[in-house]
């Protein structure tokens, strides 16, 4: 045995077909035709270019887009109590919550505390949806809007008022079974 015997570690290399006229012709046309089969089959379907932004791709109901904060429908109080669990869960560290205490005269949320400051830095958000999972009061959910670009970075810090406001639903929702 030579000192360089690799033993069983050698893997047999799969080589291209041996050179020859028939095999050569197959190599030139065969695989190309196979690809073209897909191309021509789709021609009958017509073009599927979406004229964004005039047209938009519909999103699935569970699409994770821009966040929304919610209020109770009956009392109008904010569901968020400022517990910061979303901030703790956030892997991108893009949520900042500063809590404060409700007083009987100045009641913002249903619990003892409310979020005096609730900011999401959208430019940093990775839309993982962990905030939604962490929220014990279903106060924050991920919406469907994905059009959030802006001209300055500071405009991408969404405040509580922006998140609470009824978002403009610019994104069509994919219908059932679509």
């Amino acid at each position: 045995m030579s000192p360089y015997d690799p033993g069983e570690d050698v893997i047999e290399v799969i080589r291209a077909p041996a050179p020859g006229p028939i095999r050569g012709a197959y190599r030139v046309f065969g695989e190309t035709l196979r690809g073209l089969k897909t191309t021509f089959a789709r021609i009958v379907e017509g073009p599927t270019t979406i004229q964004y932004p005039e047209e938009k791709t519909p999103v699935y109901p569970r699409f994770r887009g821009r966040h929304k904060l919610h209020r109770f429908e009956d009392t109008g109080l904010e569901k968020c109590v400022g517990c910061s669990l979303c901030a703790a869960a956030c892997p991108a560290d893009c949520i900042r919550v500063v809590a404060a205490e409700n007083t009987p005269e100045h009641r913002i949320s249903a619990g003892e505390r409310y979020a005096a400051v609730y900011e999401i830095n959208i430019s940093r958000c990775i839309f993982c949806g962990y905030c939604e999972v962490a929220c014990p009061f279903d106060a924050i959910t991920m919406g469907h809007d994905y059009e959030m670009s802006d001209y300055t970075r500071s405009d991408l810090i969404f405040t509580k008022e922006m998140l609470l406001a009824e978002p403009i639903e610019r994104t069509p929702l994919r219908a059932e079974g679509e």
Binding site: V81, G82, C83, S84, L85, A87, A88, V97, A99, A100, E101, G111, E112, R113, P136, F137
Partner: protein
């Protein structure tokens, strides 16, 4: 009692061999063996265990029932199981049981994220409850005091807060009211739980039942960063952990140093952090412009301070207790080298001869703080630990309660420790020197009054380990006799015995070692021409001999005796340069230039604990607005007067200090570290000047000045500095309720004679000066004596200079 000796024993926990100290509780032994047993009520700091929560049940071979490991001492050869099915079943049941009434409102609870109940439920709970009945409800949140909110629904009745109140701070205010399922934590009659140490129960509470009101909803544990620091609001120098969020101190927690603070904090230390972030704080340089102070640029302020150069040889400086060693050192360099003056003082109790100061500070004579706990006898002399260094008060209580320390209290004012004392003796205010001379004579076997002889025999007979805790406020005249007493009791060179001084300023000891005293340079080195002390500086400034004053984080009008003279001195001085964070009265009226001073959360430097422990201040937050580091401002001022300090960083200042102080030799900032280092215990302490053994001065000791007799109807006046007497307290919103107001403590007999009732407003007059105060009738006050507070914002007793006052109705 001397420190007990312990045997080590072997036991088996979960099949693991664990070595433990005999008498240790099983739970602690398991912790040492890296085995976790869940618990709520156990807290070794609180003394004997109570076994209230039942969370720490374990199975011990040979004992048929499960045992609470927190209250079972270890025995040699014990075999313990903590993870059997029986134990797990019991743990699940206890968690389920504790959660029966718990509201589970973790999202709104301030404890959420750092809550033992959350952690243990997660780790040892079953995850579901069979309880479907309604939980018990209380009004919530309720203010237990202005500082603490109580949520009784969350309470698991672990006894920790009640034990703290009953056995540690001994204020006996918190109790369990009602019985059985109705049990709740309360004060006896529902009054607010206001006590100097009340904040500790917030940290003790293992659930969110007791929460801090100033910290309420401010932050979550994951928003915060912890930063180690030292509280410099009093000489106790407790180790604290500052909770920082967004460059702001959110709260102060204990950092549990077993040789400094035993893990407790007073409410001043815990809540006065608020003074760091209030509008009242000075955050930009100010200069006087046409009578009023105005914000100016740093360049302008330094240029104005450079005017000190015009008064070379006629500059006096005062250093406040919050200054670090480096700041004290640089300031004395500025004064001695740059301005050619030795008139620098940091003492609050009058000038002390340098030889005497050396003898009293000699390393062999110094007791450490834990010595208080293990001494045979502790003598509290001329100070009130509760006001002057609150944590020392808790150390003494611990010693008396758990170690059988015999406590003797000798003071003019009745002390909070009187009830714990074996022996109490009162002397009239101003008669400290006479009292100590008599005690010295009694110890020598000479002729002395009966109570002095009794005290002497107590100090001699109980045991050799005597710790004398004395306050700088005792006054300089009394010190030769104190030194002589220490010599007679043989305190020098005896481990576990010695003197422990409570200075007036938080870093009083360090500033002296750094040379911020008129007659000694760094390391108590003698200086060629001793300068003037604080009182003499005032006199000289009022006479026009001192032209300029440098006030480093102190306002003499407020802090030092004889307010009138200081007002005159500051008024007469042509240049007053100050470092301050609060605009106190004297500065508002008289300062020409004010540099914004750092708070202790921003400082970088070292300080010295009264027992000689060098501790390190670390910067926890950024300097707010225009505040600059104290050492760098001193360097800039020196440059403005034409002196080059050669200091570019705070550690360069420390290096210069090390080079100047022989007994600090070989120290490094790393060696001091987070836990500090007692220099008297180091080998290099031999370099302390003035010989190793203090010599008792001869006839001087008995030269005590006896207090003069009172003229008709007048009361002898003593002063004290209340725990709350600090500008930081006054500007902390949470402590507004506690701000010290002037009150006249007097005996019931005098009150009856003058027709005064408790709480009535009285006028205290002397030499045409008048103060208004509330009468406080206190039984312990000796008849013919009255006490007024000093160091407070209004109506402070430092306006009065004579030993007697006249008290009348307004």
């Amino acid at each position: 009692m001397p420190r007990p000796e312990h045997k080590t024993i072997q036991l088996t926990i979960d099949g693991r061999e664990v070595t433990a100290r005999e008498g240790m509780m099983l739970l602690d032994a398991a912790k040492h063996g890296d085995i976790e047993i869940p618990y709520f009520c156990y807290q070794p700091k609180l003394g004997n265990p109570v076994g209230a929560c039942r969370m720490c049940l374990v199975e011990i071979e040979g004992i048929p029932k499960l045992q609470t490991s927190c209250s079972t001492p270890v025995k040699d050869g014990m075999v313990v199981h903590t993870e059997t099915d029986r134990v797990r079943h019991a743990q699940n049941a206890i968690v389920e049981f504790l959660l029966v009434n718990h509201p589970l409102d973790c999202p709104v609870c301030d404890k959420g994220g750092e809550c033992p109940l959350q952690d243990i439920t997660f780790g040892w709970g079953l995850g579901r409850s069979r309880f479907i009945e309604p939980k018990r409800h209380f009004v919530k949140p309720l203010a237990l005091s202005p500082l603490i909110a109580i949520d009784r629904e969350r309470c698991i009745l672990c006894y920790r807060c009640v034990r703290f109140s009953q056995e540690i701070s001994e204020d006996y205010q918190l109790v369990f009211a009602e019985r059985g399922a109705d049990t709740l934590v309360a004060t006896h009659d529902g009054h607010p739980y206001v006590a100097p140490f009340s904040g500790n129960i917030v940290e003790l509470c293992p659930v969110g039942a007791l929460t801090s009101r100033p910290y309420r909803f401010r932050a979550r544990p994951w928003d915060n960063e912890g930063a180690g620091g030292i509280c410099t609001l009093c000489p106790s120098q407790c180790n604290v952990e500052l909770t920082v969020r967004d460059e702001k101190v959110m709260r102060v927690l204990a950092r549990d140093h077993p040789e400094v603070d035993d893990g407790w904090l007073c409410d001043k230390g815990r809540f006065a952090y608020q003074s760091i972030h209030v509008d009242e704080r000075i955050t930009a340089p100010l200069a006087r412009d046409g009578g009023s102070l105005r914000e100016v640029s740093w360049e302008r302020a330094l240029e104005l301070a450079g005017g000190l150069a015009r008064h070379k040889g006629h500059v006096g400086a005062l250093v406040g207790g919050q200054a670090t060693n480096e700041e004290g050192f640089l300031l004395q360099r500025l004064l001695r080298e740059g301005l050619g003056s030795n008139d620098i003082d940091s003492r609050g109790g009058g000038p002390v001869d340098v030889e005497l100061a050396r003898a009293l500070a000699a390393p062999s004579l110094q007791a450490s703080v834990p010595d208080i706990e293990f001494a045979h006898t502790v003598l509290v002399l001329g100070c009130e630990p509760l006001d002057d260094a609150p944590i020392i008060d808790l150390w003494i209580r611990k010693g008396v309660r758990r170690r059988g320390v015999q406590l003797a209290v000798a003071s003019s004012r009745p002390s909070a420790l009187d009830v714990n004392a074996t022996f109490t003796v009162r002397y009239p205010p101003g008669a400290e020197a006479g009292f100590l001379a008599e005690l010295d004579a009694a110890l020598a076997g000479g002729d002395a009054p009966q109570d002095r002889r009794e005290l002497a025999s107590l100090l001699r007979e109980v045991g050799e380990d005597v710790v004398i805790l004395w306050g700088e406020r005792l006054g300089a005249q009394a010190l030769p006799a104190l030194l002589s007493i220490a010599g007679r009791l043989g305190l020098a060179d005896r481990p576990g015995a010695g003197l422990l001084e409570i200075p007036c300023g938080a870093n009083g000891r360090g500033l002296r070692e750094a040379g911020a005293v008129p007659d000694a340079g760094p390391g108590y080195r003698a200086v060629d021409a001793p300068g003037r002390g604080a009182a003499e500086i005032a006199g000289a400034a009022a006479d026009g001999d001192v032209h300029a004053l440098y006030l480093f984080q102190t306002d003499p009008v407020r802090e030092l005796p004889d307010r009138g003279l200081w007002e005159q001195a500051l008024h007469r001085a042509s240049l007053v340069v100050a470092h301050a964070s609060v605009l106190t009265e004297g500065l508002r009226e008289h300062a020409n230039v004010i540099f914004p001073a750092e708070s202790y959360a921003e400082k970088e430097g070292t300080i010295v604990h009264p027992d000689g422990r060098l501790q390190r201040l670390r910067q926890a937050i950024a300097h707010p607005e225009q505040v600059r580091a104290g050492w760098s401002v001193l360097v800039d001022v020196a440059r403005a007067v034409g002196q080059e300090m050669d200091v570019l960083t705070s550690s360069m200042a420390f290096a210069q200090l090390l080079a100047a102080v022989p007994f600090y030799e070989g120290l490094t900032l790393e060696a001091i570290g987070g836990r500090g280092l007692r220099w008297p215990a180091r080998e290099q302490a031999r370099a302390f000047p003035g010989g190793a053994r203090p010599q008792a001065p001869g006839s001087e000791a008995s030269d005590g000045r006896d207090a003069p007799a009172a003229s008709d109807g007048q009361l002898r006046l003593g002063t004290y500095r209340p725990i709350w007497a600090a500008p930081e307290v006054e500007i902390s919103p949470a402590l507004h309720f506690a701000v010290a107001e002037q009150q006249l403590e007097l005996s019931p007999r005098d009150a009856a004679r003058l027709g005064l009732g408790h709480g009535e407003t009285v006028v205290v007059a002397q030499n045409g000066k008048q103060l208004r105060a509330k009468a406080a009738v206190r039984t312990g006050v000796p008849p013919g004596t009255a006490f007024l507070a000093e160091g407070i914002a209004a109506q402070s007793a430092n306006a009065l200079t004579e030993p007697f006052v006249e008290v009348r109705k307004p």
